[in-house]
């Protein structure tokens, strides 16, 4: 019998602070006998600046960003696959292109998920008061349960 009414959606970006979330989600999925869908969002946010007033070499810039996004996706997926294999949990990997928050929320709305797991860097000083982290925004907008995992000692 499944202990969780759906899968766990895990956001992966290959960043060090996300590793704790990956470990945590895989352990939880194993304990609750459910699967994990790892989602990587390739956000083309920086492409908009190619239209800056005097920008030259726009195509080279766009190509560079595309290459970086592809490399980043490949690294995030490879890092997740390693951990998933060790855990023995049934996993699926998805990659979406678009704005991070919008794509994460679309995936939550379209899929059959019981839980959303996100990694979060700790915030300090000025940035804490100036900024709300993306993960906070997603968690606040998510219709289901969202869990933010902050690595120990971070």
């Amino acid at each position: 019998m499944k202990l969780l009414p759906g899968k766990i959606l895990l956001a992966i970006d290959g960043e060090p602070h996300t590793e704790a979330a990956v470990t945590w989600a895989l352990r939880l999925a194993g304990a609750l006998q459910t699967g994990v869908v790892a989602l990587h969002v390739a956000d083309p946010y920086l492409e908009q600046f190619a239209d800056d007033l005097y920008a030259q070499g726009r195509q080279a810039y766009r190509d560079h960003l595309q290459r970086c996004l592809a490399e980043s996706a490949a690294a995030a997926v490879a890092a997740f696959e390693r951990k998933a294999k060790e855990s023995g949990v049934a996993c699926e990997i998805k990659i979406r292109d678009g704005a991070l928050i919008a794509e994460l929320l679309s995936e939550v709305a379209e899929g059959d998920y019981a839980l959303l797991v996100l990694g979060q860097r700790s915030r300090t000083g000025v940035r804490l008061s100036l900024d709300r982290k993306l993960s906070d925004k997603v968690a606040a907008s998510s219709p289901g349960i969202a869990i933010l995992v902050v690595p120990e000692g971070n």
């Binding site: 920086l46 190619a50 239209d51 007033l53 920008a55 030259q56 810039y61």
Partner: protein, 372 residues
């Protein structure tokens, strides 16, 4: 017919809503500007306070109005493509401004400006890249911050990022920092200039060396006054021509460590990174310098140059509406990390040193005569 169709972007309808929005905002702001000027002349207290004391000209109205709209009710998706192509309309405005100069101006103000630009651009780039390396900042971030704080802000970051293989996060930090300081300086420098009684030509030269983002420096100078704008546009023309050379410098400085790439040749870099449109600006300067009766001049009513001078403000107004609507506080919040420390240090130093230098240079060397 086929020839005309090939000149039109196939997806042109998507640009219409945003462009119309910018046109409407420009129309409203230009008319408020004209009304405030009229009532200020008639000594109406509120108009004088807004127009003279607070300097609420069309530039400020469009920028502040655009920023408020973007960051409160937001700019709908349907408007965004049009807003993004409204900003480059400043370019035809700049080309048209070529009718305000003669070659004597290019030699005197442009020559002085070129020296200032070379000193400040390469001084900043060398200092930022060398200090970055000294303190362990990666080549990608050091390269884009050196170029970005040296010349043309975001434009230089776009040109340099692929060459030094900058990471997306570093690019986001760098662009956020450049936009943050550019926006702060755009709104702060005109008031500092007024408070310190900086002359218009000096102010134009000051913003041309201190403000990192080109559109923002032109907005600040236009806001300060016509003479300030004339000086700023000319010095900026000298400045943006240096973009390819900054890229070449970055390639040399970092020994092009980007993986799997050969160092681009000198001429290939110049060809790819040179802002070609600026040649139109110089072509109009040549025509104005020839003093041909057929073209008249910006002050000769009814002449072609007069007509062009009349419409430039509309190009600027629509472009400034696009800039205001594009300034997102979320983009500026991306500022952070080492980029923020480097950017804040370089921007502050450039502002202070730039002011000292333009005060020492004096007004006359920086004043544009414009010929007839």
């Amino acid at each position: 017919m086929l020839g005309i169709r090939s000149l039109v972007a196939p997806d042109w309808p998507k640009y219409v809503p945003g462009m119309l929005l910018c046109l409407v905002l420009a129309f409203v702001a230009m008319n408020i500007d004209a009304l405030l000027a009229k009532y200020h002349k008639q000594d109406v207290g509120l108009a004088t306070f807004l127009y003279q004391t607070l300097q609420f000209r069309y530039v400020a109205l469009l920028l502040i109005g655009g920023i408020l709209l973007r960051n409160t009710i937001g700019v709908g998706r349907v408007f965004r493509p049009g807003v993004s192509i409204a900003r480059p309309l400043i370019k035809p405005g700049i080309i048209i401004l070529g009718v305000h100069y003669v070659w004597a101006d290019v030699l005197k103000v442009g020559g002085t400006g070129l020296i200032l630009a070379i000193v400040f651009i390469f001084g900043t780039a060398i200092a930022v890249m060398a200090l970055g390396r000294r303190f362990g900042v990666g080549d990608g971030l050091g390269g884009i911050m050196g170029a970005g704080t040296g010349v043309c802000g975001v434009s230089a970051i776009i040109a340099t990022a692929p060459v030094v293989n900058a990471k997306p996060r570093d690019i986001a930090y760098a662009i956020g920092t450049i936009l943050l300081f550019g926006t702060l300086m755009l709104f702060v420098m005109p008031y500092i200039g007024q408070a310190l009684d900086v002359s218009q030509p000096q102010f134009g030269a000051w913003v041309a060396v201190a403000i990192l983002n080109t559109a923002q420096l032109i907005a600040a100078a236009e806001w300060y006054g016509e003479e300030a704008r004339n000086t700023a546009v000319l010095i900026n023309a000298a400045r943006i021509m240096l973009i390819p050379f900054i890229v070449i410098f970055a390639v040399w400085f970092y020994g092009l460590k980007s993986k799997g790439q050969d160092a681009p040749s000198f001429w290939a870099t110049v060809r790819e990174k040179f802002p070609v449109f600026i040649l139109g600006f110089f072509a109009l300067i040549v025509l104005n310098s020839l003093d041909l009766a057929v073209f008249g001049g910006p002050k000769v009513t009814g002449s072609p140059f007069w007509a062009m001078n009349t419409v430039y403000k509309w190009f600027f107004a629509v472009g400034f509406a696009g800039i205001g609507l594009s300034i997102s506080i979320d983009d500026m919040k991306q500022a952070g990390g080492a980029a923020f420390l480097i950017g804040s240090g370089a921007a502050t130093l450039k502002m202070v040193l730039g002011l000292i230098v333009v005060v020492l240079v004096g007004t006359e060397l920086l004043r544009v005569s414009g010929g007839n």
